[in-house]
Symmetry: C2
Subunit: 270 residues, 2 copies
């Protein structure tokens, strides 16, 4: 069974169109390259009821991992941990390890002259209150620690929404968790640009090649607008045998290029 991941992104800024969801894009690319599958991404507002509902729904689908981004900071609208705790019917409690992480970080900021005092105000302490049974994850870049929680067979990973912090925690502390569950799968992809054949004519050619190479998934993506429109074909496969997969995808590429040229189309690699 391939490792299944769901993403939940929390933040009004994503739903008012202020912020482009580059976190979901970055995570999806990294997770896929590690041999896991992102099943679904859900984006919800900074509201407890929305966080509770989306977390419970994801847990009910039993993925191996749920990665939640956003809402870990010190402001009133940062309510992810409260929502996740509620979704799991756990209490929030002061976590000593997280508290120590915050203490060190604010002491460092004071030393650097970035803040006047390192007092752990109520706003700062909030970031150390984790759901019962959770563990903090070191944040190499910012203040708020990430959080790991185990619930049934699912590992919930909560990461900050600031891209630099999310990416740093992922690279330092999440990759090995996914790799351990990825079952040794390699993900291989290729792209081919097609000109001179419309998508509705390509459809039959894609069907033929996928019938001959059932392990290869081929998707067509129209690019640009008329009259310069062209189609990008994207071929993907996952396999424990990386070289075998690369050979197979190359054969499928050759086959579809021949069929396209027979239809009067032109192709080029990217």
């Amino acid at each position: 069974m391939v490792c299944q991941v769901e993403l939940i992104c929390i933040g009004n800024e994503l739903l008012i169109g202020k912020t482009l969801n580059t976190n979901a894009h970055w995570l999806s690319k990294r997770i896929t390259s590690l041999g896991c599958i992102v099943r679904r991404t859900t984006v919800v507002r900074d509201e407890i009821s929305e966080i509770v509902a989306s977390t419970r729904e994801a847990i009910a689908r039993k993925p191996d991992f749920i990665i939640i981004t956003g809402g870990l900071g010190p402001t009133f609208d940062d309510m992810t941990l409260e929502g996740v705790a509620k979704a799991l019917s756990r209490k929030l409690e002061m976590n000593d390890e997280a508290l120590e992480m915050l203490r060190e970080r604010y002491a460092e900021f004071t030393k650097m002259g970035r803040i006047k005092d390192s007092n752990l105000t109520e706003y700062r302490l909030k970031m150390a209150r984790l759901p019962q049974g959770a563990r903090p994850i070191h944040n190499p870049v910012g203040t708020a620690p990430g959080v790991t929680i185990h619930e049934n067979s699912t590992t919930i990973l909560v990461l900050p929404g600031v891209p630099q912090e999310m990416e740093a925690i992922f690279e330092a502390s999440i990759i090995h968790l996914l790799r351990d569950k990825s079952d040794g799968l390699f993900y291989v992809e290729r792209s081919l640009q097609v000109l001179g054949v419309v998508e509705s004519s390509l459809a039959a050619l894609i069907d033929r090649v996928m019938l001959e190479y059932p392990a290869i998934y081929i998707k067509s993506h129209p690019i640009g607008s008329e009259p310069e429109v062209h189609i990008e074909l994207h071929l993907t496969t996952s396999s424990r045998n990386k070289e075998g997969a690369e050979e197979e995808i190359s054969k499928a590429m050759e086959k579809i290029q021949v069929l396209i040229s027979q239809k009067g189309g032109r192709t080029g690699f990217v």
Copy 2:
């Protein structure tokens, strides 16, 4: 009651990190500017079971609109209409109006020399098979018509995933539907850049200003990475009285600038 909208984006390319979800971003911005609220965005794979589940879940939350993008084309992985029909327990049936739209479009393509014949092959006919009771929406740019379906109190709008086509249909045929439901609300936003105060110190100032101006929502967004990090404050409000809202947001901006400068921080507009 403010007009509630949910987005469902369909496509493996979004969940493997190949394509950045600019459709959700563009739609969220436009919908918000029209005085409606995007409650949630769900991204699922090109699988019938995923389309059925996400559509049913969204309908159960009773939004005014569900806008579904992607999976309307001629290829095997375009299965949105089949999934939506199944979610609504309706049959797919040949729609005469949609058939006429396709016939015209392929005749035009043939005339332009883009395709050799305008035959409505099985791949092309697929785009005219709509759920029972649905109506096609003219696509000013591409081939696949958009689709409108009414289900209880929710209007489901299905749009192509190609950004140019999705945007063209939205501008031509969707805007007035949202505006009619938006209850005359205007959305007003302002941004303020803050340097020299960390987010955990800003938190208390935000609380004070939001207490004084309860109609104004203030979010802080850390930008960049250490040591050049700064915070963007984003102030938003919705009101039937646009001038009143602009006045209120200006007052809240002034107030928070004063508080930030008292804390030793600097601010600038964007």
